[in-house]
Symmetry: D3
Subunit: 131 residues, 6 copies
C-alpha cells in the first residue's frame, strides 16, 4: 500500500477553505459551538470530511452534495446536518428544484416520512435564504 500523506498544515488549511466554500456561515457556527466542549472534534471535522474527502478529485462538489443530501434525508436522524447540506448544495450550484427532487426520490428508498421531513427541512432553509 502506497499512501500519499499530505502536510498537516496544508490539510487543515484546505479543510478550512472547503468548509467555508461549502457550508459557509453554518460551518463556522458548528466549529464555534464545539469550542468549549470538544475543540479537537472541530479539528477532525475540518481535517477529515473537508480536508480529505471533499477535496478528493474524483467527484465534483455538486455530485458530493447530492450524495450527502440523499444520505441525510434517508437516515432521517440528523436534521440539523441535513439543513446545513441543503444550504451547501445551493452554495455549490444545485437549484432549489434539484434539492427538492433528490429529497422526493428518497421516498422510494427510505419511505414517505423521511422524504416529508426532508422536504420540510428544505422549506425552512429556502425560506430563510429568501428573507
Amino acid at each position: 500500500m502506497t499512501q500519499q500523506l499530505s502536510d498537516p498544515r496544508e490539510r487543515f488549511e484546505r479543510g478550512l477553505r472547503a468548509l467555508a466554500a461549502i457550508d459557509g456561515e453554518a460551518g463556522h457556527k458548528v466549529v464555534d459551538a464545539l469550542a468549549d466542549i470538544a475543540p479537537d472534534f472541530a479539528t477532525y471535522l475540518i481535517e477529515f470530511p473537508f480536508g480529505d474527502i471533499y477535496n478528493r478529485p474524483g467527484l465534483d462538489l455538486r455530485a458530493r452534495e447530492i450524495a450527502t443530501i440523499a444520505a441525510l434525508t434517508a437516515m432521517g436522524n440528523a436534521v440539523p446536518q441535513l439543513k446545513v447540506h441543503i444550504e451547501a448544495g445551493l452554495n455549490v450550484g444545485l437549484s432549489r428544484d434539484e434539492v427538492t427532487e433528490i429529497i422526493i426520490q428518497m421516498a422510494v428508498y427510505a419511505g414517505f416520512p423521511a422524504a416529508l421531513n426532508g422536504l420540510f427541512a428544505a422549506k425552512e432553509v429556502f425560506a430563510a435564504r429568501s428573507q
Copy 2:
C-alpha cells in the same frame, strides 16, 4: 393543488422502460422473483419508483443514481438493492471510480462500517462485470 395524472398504461410502460434502462437484467430478476408472492408489488415498483420518480425531468439519471447509491450505503440494511444500484449507476454513466468516491464519502455521514460494507458490495459488482 393541480396535479397531472398520467395515463396508467403509459405510466406502466414508461416504468418498464426505465426499469430496463436503469436496472437492466437485475430489474427483470426482481420482478420475476415477486411473481409468485406479490405480483402487485412488482407493478407498484414499476409504476412509482420507475414510472413516476425516475422519469421526472428535474434531475438526470446520473444524479439520481448518485443519490440512491449514497442513501443505500448510508442506510446499510439493503445490500441487495445497493448492488442493483451500483450496477444501475454504471449503466447510466457513472465510472467505477465515481461509484467508489460516493461510497467513501458515506464514511463521514454514516460511519466507516457503512462505507466498508458499501465498498465490498461494489467490489463484488465490479468483479462480476469484469468476467
Copy 3:
C-alpha cells in the same frame, strides 16, 4: 405478470377519500404544507400510499394502522408522522389502550427508548383530542 391499472382520476379521488377518512385534518395539513415546495409530492402521497396501498382489500384499516404505528415507533425517526398515525388509528377504531399496547410492545423489538418516545407522542395526541 398481469397488472390491473386503475383510472388515474379514480385513483386520485379514492386516495383523497382515504386520506380524509384516515388522517382527517392532519392529512389536509400535510398536503397544504407541501403546496409551495413540492406539490407533486402531495399528489404521490395521495396516489400511492392512500390511493393504492390503503385501498387494497387484503387487510382492514385497523390492521393497517396497527402496522404503521408499530413501524413508526420502531424506526424512531419520524415523530410527526407517528402522531398523525396515532390519530389515524383512533379514527379507524383503535382504542387508546390498544395504541398504547402496540407502542409498549415495540420495547421488545426496538428498545425502551423507542417505546418511551412513542408513548410520549401518544400522550400528546390523546391530550389534544381530549380538549
Copy 4:
C-alpha cells in the same frame, strides 16, 4: 404507582407457553442456541417479551404479530427474527396474504428495499412450510 408483580415461576411458565404457542419450533431453537453463550438471555427472552408483553390482555396475538412483522420489516436489520415472526403470524391466524399485505405496506414507511427484503423473507418461510 401501583404495580402488579407476578410470581416469577408463573411468569416464566406462561412465557414458555407463549413462546411455544407463538414461535413454535423456532422459539426452542433460539433458546437452545443461547444455552452455551448467554443462557440468562434466554430466560429474559422468555420472561419479558413472552411472559410479560405477549400475555397482556389489551391486544390479541393476531394484532401483536401484525405489529411485530411491520416493525421488523421496517427496521430491516433483523431478518432472522422477521422470519420467526412471519411463522408466528401464521401460527396465530394470519393468512399468507395478510402477511404479504403488511410487508407491502412498509414500502410507504420504510422504503421499497425494506419491503422487498421482507417479501423475500416471507417467500422463504412460505416455501419451507409448503414442503
Copy 5:
C-alpha cells in the same frame, strides 16, 4: 436450562434503587410522566433494565454507561434518553472528558452527524449541571 428467578418484590425494589442511583431525578420524571398513559410500562422499565440488567454482576456501572452512551449516540434517534444517560454516566463516575471521548469516537462508527448531535446533547447536560 436452569434459570434463577428472583422474588418479584425484591426485583422491583432493586430496580427502583438502581434507577435512583443511576438516573437520579431524571428517572423519577420518566416514571411520573408514564403514570397517566402507561404505568405498567414504568414498572417494566424498573424491572427489566434496572432490576434485571443493571444489577447483573458481570460489568460495573461505569462500563454499562459507556455502552449506553455509545449506543444512544450511534442510534441518533433517542436524544432525551441520551441526555438521561450522559447524566447517569456522570452519576456513576465518568468524567465529562470521558463522556466527550465516547461520543467523539462514535463519528467513526455512526458518522460525524451522530457524534455532533451527541456532543451538543452533552453540552446541554453539562451546562445544566453547572448552574
Copy 6:
C-alpha cells in the same frame, strides 16, 4: 481554535500500530481487501479511527471497545465490523463474559433482535478462537 497537527508519517505509523494491536489479523485483512478497490480508504481507516481516535489519551482501549461493541450491536447493520471488534475487545482485555454482558444490555436500548444477533456474532468469534 488552536489545534495540534501531528506529523502525517507519525500519524500513519501510530495508526498502523493501533490497528495491529487492536484488530490483529482482521485489521490486515480489511486493509488488504481494500487494496484493489479503494486503497485510499484503507489509508483513511488507519489515519482517522486508529491514528487519531484510538490514540487519544482520555479513554483507555478497554473502554473504547466497550463503546464500539455496544454501538455496532445496537446499530445492527454492520455484523462483519461487530465481529472484528468483539475480537478487538478480547485483544485489549475484555473477558468473554464482559463482551456478552455488553451485548445483552443492548436489548434494553435497541431491542431483543439486535442483542440476539450480537450474541450469535459473539458465539462465532468465541468458537473460532477456541479452535
